[in-house]
C-alpha cells in the first residue's frame, strides 16, 4: 500500500468516515448486473444452502436447500440457479458487433486479419465478498463435469439439464476474476475497498456490513460515526445471540447454524419421515401440511440471513455509481466482452468443459497475461485518476512539470526528424537515469521522450521528445510541448501490449486457433450415499 493510502486510512480513523482512494470509478459497472448472494453448508464442499439471485434489487429470487445432504434437493437448487442465471448470461450472446482480429492463417502461416463477432455488452455478476468469488469457482467446478441423462443415459444420479453448462460458465467467470482489472465477476467488498479507505485493517474490510458502514454517509443511527456503525455491524447480536448484520457469506455464522438452522432442518426431516410413514391419505395430508410449514420456515430463515447482504450489495453499487467511470475502464471492459464472446464461441463449438487443471502451456500463458493485465491496470488507473497518479509520483514513477523552454533540434541520419529538447521544472523526485524513457498522454495516445540531463537549478531537467510528431521535418501541430504547459510524465508505459482490442488467450476458441485443451475429462465419481 502506498503511503497515500495509509494516510487515507489514518484520516478515516480520525474522522470516523471512509476517505477517498480514487476520484473516479476504476471498474465498469453494467447497467443491469446480476447480484448473487450464496450461502453454503458449513463443513461440506459444494453443498449450497441457499441463495438470493437476480437483476432487480426489489425482487431477488430465493433459492433454498431444505436438507443440504440430500442430493436431489441440491440438484433442484442448482437447476433453479441455472434457470435464473443462464437466461441472463445468454441474453447477451446475440447482440453483436463486427470486429477484427489478427490470426495466423493455418495454410500460409501468415498473420491475417479476420472478421469476427464481438458481443456488444456482457453479463456481469456481482457477489458480496472475495469468498463469494471463490464460491462461484467452486460451484463451477462441482457442476461442469456432471453428466445429464441426455449426455449419458447410464450415468448414475444424472444431473438435471443445464447444470453442466452453468458449471462451465461459472468456471469461466471465476477464472476471469483472476485477471487484474477484469469486471465480469466482481466482489462488492473489493469494489468498495478499491475506492475508499476505512479506518480499519484490510482484513476487517472483508466484512461487507462493516466496510459499508464506514463508507455509506447514511449508515448508522443519528450522530453515529462510521467507525461505531462498523463495530455494530461486526459484533451486535440480538437477544437470541444472533448477529444483527449476518455475515455476507457464503459461510454462515455458527450461532445461526446451531440455534436456528439445525432445529429447523430437524423439523423438516421429521416431517418428511412422518409423511413417508403415513398410512392413509388423510394422515398424509396432515403430514404434507407440516412438511410445507417446515420448508417455509427454513426458507424464511435463509432469506432473513441473506437479505441484509443482498441490500448491502445493491447499496454498494449505488455508492460506486456515484463516481464517474474512469476513461480507460471501458477499454478493460472491451477485453471482458472478448472473454465473454470467446467462451460463448467455445460452448457453441461443442468444446468439452474446461479441464480440471491447466496444462503447462495454458498455465504459463494465463500467468503471463495476468501480469500484463496487472501492469496495464496500474498504468491505466494512474492515467485516469490524479489520486492514483499521486501515488506513482510519490514513488518516483511519474512527475508533473511545467514547460520552461523548448528548443528545436533534429536527429542525425539520412532522414533528419524533429527531436525537440524540452526544459521542464518539477517538484517531484522521479527516478531518472541516463536516457530513461518517459511518456505523456497526447490525445489519449502515449508520446515518448527521453531524459537528457539535470540543469543546475533544483527540479529543472531536460527531456528530448522522440515520437508522435508526424513524418515531416516540421513537427505536426500540437505535437510538441509548449512553453508554460503543465504536463504529467510517467516512467511507465501507458500501453502494455499491442492494440487494446486483442482477445486474451483464454478467450481464443479452438475454432480460431486457440488450443483445443485436454480432451474431454471424465466426470467425478459419484458416491451412492446422499451424505457428501
Amino acid at each position: 500500500m502506498s503511503l497515500i493510502s495509509t494516510l487515507a486510512r489514518l484520516d478515516a480513523v480520525r474522522s470516523g468516515r471512509a476517505q477517498a482512494l480514487a476520484t473516479v470509478r476504476h471498474r465498469h459497472l453494467s447497467e443491469r448486473p446480476m447480484v448473487f448472494v450464496p450461502l453454503t453448508t458449513a463443513g461440506e464442499a459444494g453443498a449450497p444452502l441457499g441463495a438470493l439471485v437476480g437483476t432487480d434489487r426489489d425482487t431477488p429470487r430465493l433459492l433454498a436447500v431444505t436438507q443440504p445432504r440430500d442430493r436431489d434437493l441440491r440438484f433442484a437448487f442448482l437447476a433453479e440457479l441455472a434457470e435464473t442465471v443462464l437466461p441472463y448470461i445468454d441474453g447477451y450472446a446475440d447482440d453483436i458487433e463486427a470486429a477484427e482480429r489478427n490470426e495466423t492463417d493455418p495454410e500460409t502461416g501468415k498473420r491475417v486479419k479476420v472478421e469476427v463477432e464481438l458481443c456488444s455488452d456482457a453479463p456481469q455478476l456481482i457477489v458480496p465478498s472475495r469468498a463469494g468469488i471463490e464460491y462461484v469457482r467452486l460451484l463451477g467446478r462441482s457442476m461442469r463435469f456432471r453428466r445429464t441423462a441426455e449426455q449419458d443415459p447410464d450415468t448414475p444420479y444424472p444431473a438435471p439439464p443445464h447444470i453442466p453448462l452453468l458449471g462451465r460458465w461459472l468456471t469461466h467467470y471465476g477464472e476471469r476474476a483472476r485477471v487484474p482489472g477484469s469486471s465480469l465477476l466482481l466482489a462488492a467488498t473489493d469494489l468498495l475497498g478499491r475506492h475508499w479507505a476505512t479506518g480499519q485493517s484490510s482484513l476487517e474490510d472483508q466484512h461487507l456490513g462493516a466496510l459499508l458502514a464506514w463508507i455509506d454517509p447514511t449508515s448508522g443511527e443519528a450522530g453515529e460515526s462510521g467507525a461505531e456503525a462498523a463495530l455494530r455491524a461486526e459484533l451486535e447480536r440480538d437477544g437470541d445471540g444472533q448477529l444483527v448484520c449476518p455475515p455476507a457469506g457464503p459461510a454462515t455464522d455458527p450461532a445461526f447454524d446451531n440455534k436456528l438452522l439445525a432445529p429447523a432442518i430437524d423439523r423438516y426431516d421429521r416431517a418428511r419421515k412422518a409423511l413417508a410413514a403415513a398410512e392413509d391419505g388423510l394422515a398424509a395430508d396432515a403430514h404434507l401440511g407440516e412438511l410445507a410449514a417446515a420448508e417455509r420456515h427454513i426458507r424464511e430463515l435463509l432469506a432473513a440471513q441473506m437479505r441484509p447482504t443482498w441490500d448491502a450489495v445493491w447499496r454498494a453499487l449505488d455508492l460506486l455509481r456515484g463516481l464517474p467511470e474512469g476513461a480507460r475502464a471501458a477499454d478493460r471492459w472491451t477485453r471482458d466482452r472478448w472473454s465473454y464472446t470467446g467462451h460463448r464461441d467455445r460452448v457453441r463449438a461443442g468444446e468439452p468443459p474446461q479441464p480440471r487443471r491447466d496444462d503447462a502451456v495454458t498455465a504459463a500463458q494465463k500467468l503471463a497475461s495476468r501480469e500484463t493485465a496487472q501492469a496495464q491496470l496500474e498504468a491505466q488507473e494512474a492515467l485516469d485518476d490524479p489520486l492514483v497518479m499521486a501515488g506513482r509520483r510519490l514513488a518516483g514513477e511519474a512527475f508533473t512539470s511545467e514547460v520552461l523552454d523548448v528548443e528545436m533540434t533534429m536527429s542525425e541520419g539520412k532522414r533528419p526528424s524533429p527531436r525537440p529538447l524540452v526544459t521542464v521544472r518539477t517538484d517531484d523526485a522521479p527516478h531518472l537515469g541516463e536516457r530513461t524513457k518517459v511518456y505523456r498522454s497526447l490525445d489519449g495516445r502515449p508520446q515518448t521522450a527521453e531524459f537528457v540531463r539535470y540543469e543546475e537549478e533544483a527540479g529543472v531537467l531536460v527531456l528530448r521528445v522522440t515520437d508522435k510528431m508526424g513524418r515531416g521535418k516540421e513537427p505536426a501541430p500540437g505535437s510538441v510541448p509548449e512553453k508554460g504547459e503543465r504536463i504529467c510524465w510517467t516512467l511507465f508505459e501507458h500501453d502494455q501490449r499491442g492494440g487494446p482490442q486483442l482477445p486474451d488467450p483464454e478467450a481464443t476458441p479452438w475454432t480460431h486457433g486457440g488450443p483445443p485443451g485436454a480432451s474431454a475429462e471424465r466426470p467425478d465419481p459419484v458416491t451412492a450415499e446422499d451424505i457428501l
Partner: protein, 389 residues
C-alpha cells in the same frame, strides 16, 4: 523459580478453584502465529481460559463451530479409519511407502495392528500410548494408533495433545496423520487451511519426538499425511505435507514459553485472571502484560476484540495492519503520524516524516483537483439510502 513455585504462581494467576485449560495443538500452533505477544504466552502458559476471560472482560470472542461442520468432520474421520484402518493404511503406503526401506512390505488389509489405548485420565492415556509406540516399534509391524495421547512440557506443566492418528511402520518410522474435513479439489486444498493443519501437525511431531527419544530404533517423520475429502465426495484423498519449517518455528516458540516465569514474576503482587473478579480488575491485570495486537489476532486469539479495542483506544497504527505499521518507521500512533504529515510535529530531516509530508501534500493536491466530482458523488450516493447493515 523452582518448578513447584512456578506451578503455584500460575495457579494463582488462574484463580484458586480453576483447573488449567489444557493446551491443545491448535492453541500451541497459534502461538507461533504471533510470537511477539507476551500476553498470550503468559495466559496460555498459565492455562487461563481465554474465551471465558474475554467474556468476563465484556468482549466475548466470536469463535464457535457449526454443528454441521462438527458432524461432518467426525463422520469423515470415522469413515477414513473404518475397517481397522484399511483405507487409511492404503493411502499412507501409496503416498509415503515408496521411500520406506527394506522390510517395509505394504500393509495387508485387515492385518494392521490397532492397539487399545484406553486408560484413565490424560496421564494414563499418554503412558498407554508411549507403551503402545514402544511395543509396535519393537514388533516391527504396521500399527495404527487411533487418537493416541501425547504429552509435551509447556511452561513447566504438561500439555496433552491428541492427534487424529499416528502410524508406526515396520521399520520403526512414525508418521503423524491429520484428518481434516476441508476438501482437496483436483489434488489441491486451500493453502491457508493446509498451513494451519501443518502447524498443528508440527506440534504433534515435537511431542512424538520426546517419546521416540526413549525408544530404540524409532524415528519420527517430518512429513505428515494429510487426509481430506476428495473433490465433492466423502472418499478420502491424501497428500504428504512437509512440516520441517513449522516444527522449528514452533519449537523456538515453545522454548520461549519457558520464560513465562519471568513474565509472571514481573506482575504486581496479587495479580489474577480469575474470571470471578470484577471486569475492571481483570482489565487491569490483562493490561499489565504487554500485548502485540495485529489484525491477524482476530482469527487466532480469543482476546482479539479486547486487545483491538485497547489498541484502537490509544490510536495504535498496528491495529490497521502490520504492513501499515512497517511503513511508518518509529511513529506508532495515529496522532503522531498525522501530526508529522501535517507539519505540526516531527523532524523534517527524518526520512519517514519527510515522506509523510510529501505524501500528504500530493494527496491534498489530487483531492483538490478532483473535488467537484467528489461532492457530486456524495450527493448522488445519499439518494438511495436506508440499508440497515
Amino acid at each position: 523459580m523452582p518448578a513447584t513455585a512456578l506451578r503455584q504462581r500460575l495457579a494463582e494467576l488462574r484463580g484458586p478453584s480453576v483447573a488449567p485449560l489444557p493446551l491443545d495443538a491448535r492453541a500451541l500452533a497459534a502461538l507461533a502465529a504471533n510470537p511477539g505477544c507476551k500476553r498470550r504466552a503468559l495466559l496460555d502458559g498459565a492455562g487461563v481460559n481465554k474465551a471465558a476471560l474475554a467474556t468476563a472482560l465484556g468482549s466475548p470472542s466470536g469463535f464457535g463451530q457449526s454443528q454441521f461442520a462438527f458432524m461432518r468432520g467426525n463422520a469423515f474421520e470415522a469413515r477414513v479409519k473404518a475397517d481397522g484402518g484399511t483405507e487409511l493404511m492404503r493411502l499412507l503406503y501409496e503416498r509415503m511407502g515408496a521411500g520406506a526401506g527394506p522390510g517395509c512390505e505394504p500393509p495387508v488389509a485387515g492385518e494392521t495392528h490397532v492397539p487399545d489405548l484406553a486408560a484413565a485420565g490424560p496421564e494414563g492415556r499418554a503412558a498407554r500410548t508411549a507403551l503402545a509406540l514402544r511395543e509396535a516399534t519393537a514388533a516391527g509391524m504396521w500399527t495404527l494408533l487411533d487418537h493416541p495421547m501425547l504429552a509435551l512440557e509447556v511452561a513447566g506443566s504438561p500439555a496433552y495433545l491428541e492427534p487424529d492418528a499416528v502410524v508406526v511402520r515396520p521399520d520403526g518410522h512414525w508418521s503423524v496423520v491429520e484428518i481434516k474435513s476441508f476438501p482437496m479439489i483436483d489434488e489441491s486444498a486451500d493453502a491457508a487451511k493446509v498451513g494451519a493443519a501443518a502447524r498443528q501437525a508440527a506440534v504433534y511431531v515435537l511431542a512424538l519426538e520426546r517419546v521416540a527419544a526413549k525408544v530404540a530404533g524409532a524415528r519420527v517423520g517430518h512429513a505428515v499425511l494429510l487426509v481430506c475429502p476428495k473433490d465433492f465426495s466423502n472418499l478420502p484423498a491424501a497428500s504428504v505435507v512437509d512440516v520441517r519449517k513449522q516444527r522449528s518455528v514452533t519449537r523456538r516458540q515453545l522454548e520461549r514459553l519457558t520464560r513465562i516465569e519471568d513474565l509472571a514474576a514481573a506482575l504486581p503482587e496479587g495479580t489474577t485472571f480469575d474470571v470471578d473478579r470484577p471486569a475492571e480488575e481483570l482489565a487491569a491485570a490483562v493490561e499489565a502484560v504487554e500485548a502485540a495486537y495485529a489484525p491477524e489476532c482476530l482469527a487466532a486469539c480469543e482476546l482479539a476484540f479486547h486487545c483491538r479495542a485497547k489498541a484502537r483506544a490509544v490510536g495504535a497504527v498496528g491495529a490497521l495492519g502490520r504492513s501499515v505499521r512497517g511503513e511508518l518507521g518509529g511513529l506508532t500512533t495515529i496522532g503522531e503520524v498525522l501530526a508529522a504529515a501535517e507539519g505540526t510535529a516531527g523532524d523534517p530531516a527524518d526520512p519517514t516524516v519527510a515522506a509523510l509530508r510529501r505524501a500528504a501534500a500530493l494527496r491534498t493536491e489530487a483531492l483538490r483537483a478532483a473535488a467537484p466530482t467528489g461532492a457530486e458523488a456524495l450527493a448522488g450516493a445519499r439518494a438511495g439510502a436506508g440499508v440497515r447493515c
